[in-house]
């Protein structure tokens, strides 16, 4: 994976990983090549600085709004302790639960679908799943509302369903991508199927699965913005208040808050991808 800022949307990212640096023998100027490699290498460490900068700017902007004397609606919508902070926590809570749910469902399912007994049905299932790529998140949430009632739990279920595919796909791709000869060697030494799965296949698939989890997490954070639509709260409320009340400052603060949260967690995901991969790979 390249820098932290590489895309996070599941099927967008997971197609072909691409190097941010061109292949060998491209740039005539070695200095520029090195600069690009530095971006690649240090992107992970530049990112938090940029995100912190964005947060600083937002804090300055928030202060400059002079809420004490602002209109009542602004004052209440932009209260840090009353609205923004609790909403942020709620936002993270929703994203965390749904990501957890995705992991708990999608990884075992991915393992199951790559076992010999289910190998046959897997492609069909994936084709069906892929055909729903244009499925609107908005529709899923409202559908969830009708079927399960409003509230945070419904949001979590809907989000988990929406973000299932990247983790499922990556689990399957990761497991399928394990070198057959490594598995053959393991079986040849008398490792049971279960041992081969837990000691060889899963560890080797970790980088790909992690990429899928990162994707799902960022998707979930994005979708949690829509939770307000069905009474799930979170930072979407601020954006929606800004829209309803026609207050641009509220809109901007809400949107930038959401962006900061998303970028921060994408960065954490990138860190996890880089540092949780098994050594030796």
């Amino acid at each position: 994976m390249t820098g932290v800022f590489s895309s996070s949307l599941g099927w967008v990212r997971n197609r072909t990983p691409v190097s941010t640096t061109p292949p060998e023998g491209f740039s005539p100027d070695p200095r520029r090549r090195n600069a690009a490699e530095l971006i690649d290498r240090w992107g992970l460490w530049i990112a938090p600085v940029l995100i912190a900068g964005l947060a600083g700017l937002l804090a300055l902007y928030h202060r400059s709004l002079d809420l004490e004397s602002a209109v009542m609606q602004q004052r209440s919508a932009l209260s840090w302790s009353g609205k923004l902070w609790p909403q942020t926590l709620q936002h993270l809570e929703i994203a965390a639960y749904s990501t957890l749910l995705v992991i708990v469902i999608a990884i075992p399912l991915g393992v199951l679908l790559t076992r010999p007994a289910f190998r046959r049905v897997a492609p069909t299932l994936m084709t069906v799943a892929n055909s729903g790529q244009a499925f609107p998140a908005y529709g899923l949430l409202v559908g969830g509302l009708f079927l399960l009632g409003n509230g945070t739990a419904t949001v979590v279920y809907c989000l988990a369903l929406f973000a299932l595919l990247p983790v499922l796909r990556n689990t399957m791709v990761g497991l399928d991508g394990v070198d057959r000869s490594v598995i053959e060697a393991g079986r040849g030494m008398g490792m049971t199927r279960r041992l081969v799965l837990t000691r060889i296949e899963l560890p080797l698939a970790v980088p790909v699965i992690l990429a899928g989890v990162r994707t799902a997490m960022v998707l979930n954070i994005g979708m949690a913005t829509l939770a307000f639509l069905i009474g799930g709260g979170a930072l979407g409320i601020t954006i929606s208040s800004g829209l309803k009340l026609n207050q641009d400052p509220v809109l901007i603060v809400g949107a930038v808050m959401v962006a900061i949260v998303a970028l921060t967690f994408d960065w954490l995901g990138a860190m996890a991808e880089r540092y949780l991969r098994p050594r030796g790979l």
Partner: protein
């Protein structure tokens, strides 16, 4: 309907209901479908032009390349509603902030595939084109881009599907499109036909995505240089 158990009967009835709803509202549905398509077409079109040009320019320039991929990656990381909202102060409410945001969303897949597609053109082919006296522009237009075309198209298809789904949210910032039916259903929650409206929004959005993808797949196949087909 003799012989059908009650829940099944209810389901069949619900389906019949839905078709009646679609028939009754066909005019509106078609109108929003066209609106949806318009937003998608403009966004994908602009994103394609920008991303392909940017990709062709950036591919052999390491710094630009790394920056372009990182920045378009950021766009894709920012949640859609937030990105839509950020453009409201600039463009007011309506389709415009949505289209700008959707263009930004659509950039990365196309940009990345353009870059990988160009990477994968064999250096020997480019070398021989140069050896025949083609200018850099000719090399790009006559040799490198045609060879990268299938990969670029794959990127365009990914962006299109992404944008079709996201356009449903445009309605939240005052835009048009099939999202109107979902919003309609939400506001009329509990009243008759609320569910039918939501299903219309979802079904027609997914269907639009499938149709567009099929069309683009055909374009991809038809215009791929014959020698590249397997």
């Amino acid at each position: 309907m003799r012989g059908l158990s009650d829940p099944r009967k209810a389901r069949v009835e619900a389906l019949g209901n839905w078709f009646t709803y679609v028939q009754d509202n066909l005019e509106f549905i078609l109108e929003e479908l066209v609106n949806h398509l318009q937003i998608v077409a403009i966004s994908v079109g602009v994103a394609t032009v920008v991303a392909v040009l940017l990709g062709a320019w950036a591919q052999s320039r390491p710094i630009v390349r790394a920056l372009a991929l990182s920045i378009t990656g950021i766009f894709l990381t920012i949640p859609s509603l937030a990105l839509f909202a950020l453009f409201i102060p600039l463009f007011g409410i309506g389709n415009r902030p949505a289209i700008v945001a959707l263009v930004l969303y659509g950039l990365l897949p196309i940009l990345r595939n353009t870059v990988t597609g160009l990477d994968s053109v064999s250096p020997a082919v480019v070398e021989s084109a140069r050896g025949m006296g083609m200018s850099p522009r000719q090399q790009l237009l006559k040799v490198r881009l045609p060879l990268a075309f299938p990969v670029v198209m794959a990127g365009i298809r990914v962006s299109t599907l992404l944008i079709v789904g996201l356009t449903a949210i445009a309605v939240l910032v005052g835009g048009d499109g099939l999202g109107s039916f979902i919003q309609d259903g939400l506001t009329r929650n509990g009243f008759p036909n609320a569910g039918n409206a939501v299903v219309v929004g979802v079904v027609f959005t997914v269907a639009l995505g499938l149709v567009l993808d099929a069309v683009l797949a055909t374009v991809q196949r038809v215009f791929t240089p014959r020698g590249l087909l397997v």
